[in-house]
């Protein structure tokens, strides 16, 4: 355990700790472009040079291991001069097109330029190396080689993380550039991470391009519900619109975020977002839709079946359980989901596409219920007249629904989710709009946080259930999501 001194402060670090990591432990930030904690060390940008006493040359903090007794200076005049020079070298061939660059506001060149400020450019416009400007390089990304500083984070990401090796540096020297095979798309499942880790505006997201200046974005920490992995994310939004999702790196689950997960926010503001009820195929206002559904439930009572959903929060599943047990007093309910879980691509994407299979188990433990097979059997036998189910979960009993054709009352956020043959569909608020508790495949409890407001009149699902109960002649008296959790182990 070597002890070293950084900017006058001593600390003991584990063997093998680099100077950059050690500085980080002390809260000393060392600027960097090529370094990324989850990629191999390249040491090429030379931005992290620091002064180590007794070493003749400045050393790269990213690659130099701490040794006993090292005395390190990260802000000496020599270090500052080196950083200023590196920045100047980086900028001489940079197009300086910040006004039309999406990276502006979160750009390593801009940020450090302010920190180590330079005088006017000593490099005349005419002498710049020109490279290829923007071109689409896959479904999600645009590449602007002229903005690239050749830190090779993107190349290393594709060879080390996705192991797809689409990218390479071609040519050499200041004419080298990032490229991929002609005619081939950069289309692995994780390409948007490249836009994140690109320290400049060379790789930008096609989805996010020109949508919003980053300094207008508000950031809400939340959870990705794209699959059972349950990655921690940040939703970036402004004026009630989400613009992008980015990973919130954490030791437990994720450094990165997959492209499908990144795009899950789209459903929230999609054209087919349900803000009204649907009876058969016709849109009607929410209140009459609720009353119609309640009337059908009231009619059937003990012949109603309720199905939980691994796509819903623990709270909303618990509310469904209460509806069945306390309000309808039916035994026909099921919270039995056992989809196989585990990372299927070696990176993040889970075998289980639903985010809360584990959370539903808590509800099952508290309230019991039928197995999926038994519920299906009862539906198929014709004894169930009305089925309440979240749209995607209805897929678990689709054969039974087809065979017996009971009235299906579905809960859905988007029109595209509505199962064929639904009698009624009731909209509910997305988990980008309301909080909800989820248990990922590791059993880690994670809560979503609202980033935007639900469309007018669209309520959280527990509140929809509460109303259904009231309109069908009973009452759950739920005033909050948490109240539904009575008896559920937290």
């Amino acid at each position: 355990m070597p002890t070293i001194t950084i900017d006058g402060k001593s600390l003991e670090v584990a063997k093998g700790t680099t100077l950059l990591e050690a500085a980080q432990q002390l809260g000393v930030y060392i600027p960097r472009y090529c370094y990324h904690p989850k990629l191999s060390i390249a040491g090429n940008c030379r931005m992290c040079l620091v002064e180590v006493e007794k070493a003749p040359k400045l050393m790269t903090a990213c690659s130099t291991e701490a040794f006993e007794g090292m005395v390190v200076h990260t802000a000496s005049d020599r270090v500052k001069a080196a950083r200023r020079d590196v920045l100047e070298y980086l900028l001489i061939n940079h197009p300086l097109d910040c006004p039309i660059c999406d990276q502006a506001g979160e750009c390593g060149l801009q940020d450090y330029y302010m920190d180590y400020s330079l005088a006017k450019s000593r490099f005349s416009q005419a002498d710049k190396v020109r490279r290829q400007k923007r071109r689409a390089v896959g479904p999600q990304l645009v590449l602007d080689n002229e903005r690239c500083i050749l830190c090779t984070r993107c190349v290393r990401f594709c060879s080390e993380v996705t192991k797809t090796s689409e990218l390479c540096v071609v040519e050499r020297g200041d004419h080298s550039f990032i490229d991929l095979k002609e005619g081939k798309a950069l289309d692995n499942d994780y390409t948007l991470n490249i836009a994140d880790i690109c320290p400049v505006g060379a790789f930008t997201s096609r989805d996010f391009r020109f949508k919003q200046r980053v300094w207008f974005l508000k950031k809400t920490p939340t959870v990705c519900l794209g699959c059972a992995t349950g990655c921690l994310i940040e939703a970036h939004h402004n004026e009630n619109t989400i613009y992008r999702l980015v990973p919130r790196p954490n030791a437990e689950t994720n450094t990165w975020l997959c492209d499908p997960g990144r795009l899950t926010y789209k459903a929230v503001q999609a054209g087919d977002r349900l803000v009204k009820g649907v009876i058969k195929n016709g849109l009607i206002d929410l209140e009459p839709a609720l009353r119609e559904a309640a009337a059908r439930i009231d009619e059937a009572r003990a012949a109603v079946a309720v199905l939980g959903s691994p796509w819903l929060s623990v709270e909303d599943n618990a509310a469904l359980a209460l509806l069945a047990k306390d309000a309808l007093k039916t035994g026909n309910y099921c919270f039995d989901f056992n989809t196989e879980q585990g990372i299927k691509d070696g990176i993040l994407i889970n075998k289980d596409p639903a985010p809360n299979t584990n959370g539903v188990k808590l509800v099952k433990a508290a309230h019991g219920g039928l197995s999926l097979e038994e519920l299906s059997r009862r539906i198929t036998s014709g004894q169930v007249k009305v089925v309440l189910a979240e749209a995607r979960a209805a897929g678990f009993i689709k054969d039974a629904l087809k065979a017996a054709a009971p009235r299906l009352i579905a809960f859905a956020s988007n029109r595209g989710e509505i199962p064929a043959g639904s009698y009624a569909t009731l909209p509910y608020a997305s988990y980008f709009e309301v909080p909800g508790t989820f248990l990922n495949y590791q059993g880690l409890r994670r809560r979503t946080a609202p980033s935007v407001e639900a469309p007018e009149g669209v309520k959280p699902l527990w509140a929809v259930i509460n109303k259904l109960a009231a309109y069908s002649g009973t009452s759950l008296r739920l005033d909050s999501a948490d109240e539904a959790l009575k008896g559920v182990r937290s």
Binding site: S165, C168, R172, E182
Partner: protein, 163 residues
Amino acid sequence: MPFKFTEEFRARAEKICARYPRRDAALIPLLLEMQKEKGYIAEEGLDALALFLQIPYSRVKGVATFYTMFNHEPVGKYHLQVCRNISCHMAGSESLLGRLRGRLGIAEGETTRDGLFTLSAVECLGACGAAPVMQVNEKYFENLDEAKLDALLEELKHGRLPH
């Protein structure tokens, strides 16, 4: 006629791979072998090599474009490569280049219409004591002057690469 990964080539390539504990170390020697066939390395050659060595295409592409001896389009029967680094420069390589441009009617990087000559200016060839130097294909011609250059061009035009 693009490069074909023939059985004969495959056998030769396997022999080269056997020199190394990891077969992908043979990448550069194999690119050189490939270039011997047609004078340049075609795109499908890169694909074939990636497959043969079981490495990503991106690595083959990166290597093939990093090293300057690899041609990516056809070159003439005689590739005239004039050194223009410091010792050759002092010995008059610029005027040799100028003479070649005039005699052949092409600029550096170009090939004569008859496909006989490609002209290139290259960096130090490592024969500075015999400056100025020109490499024709793989052969060095040293201590050149205008008369020697003219005589050499005549030989080459008749299809004779002097020893």
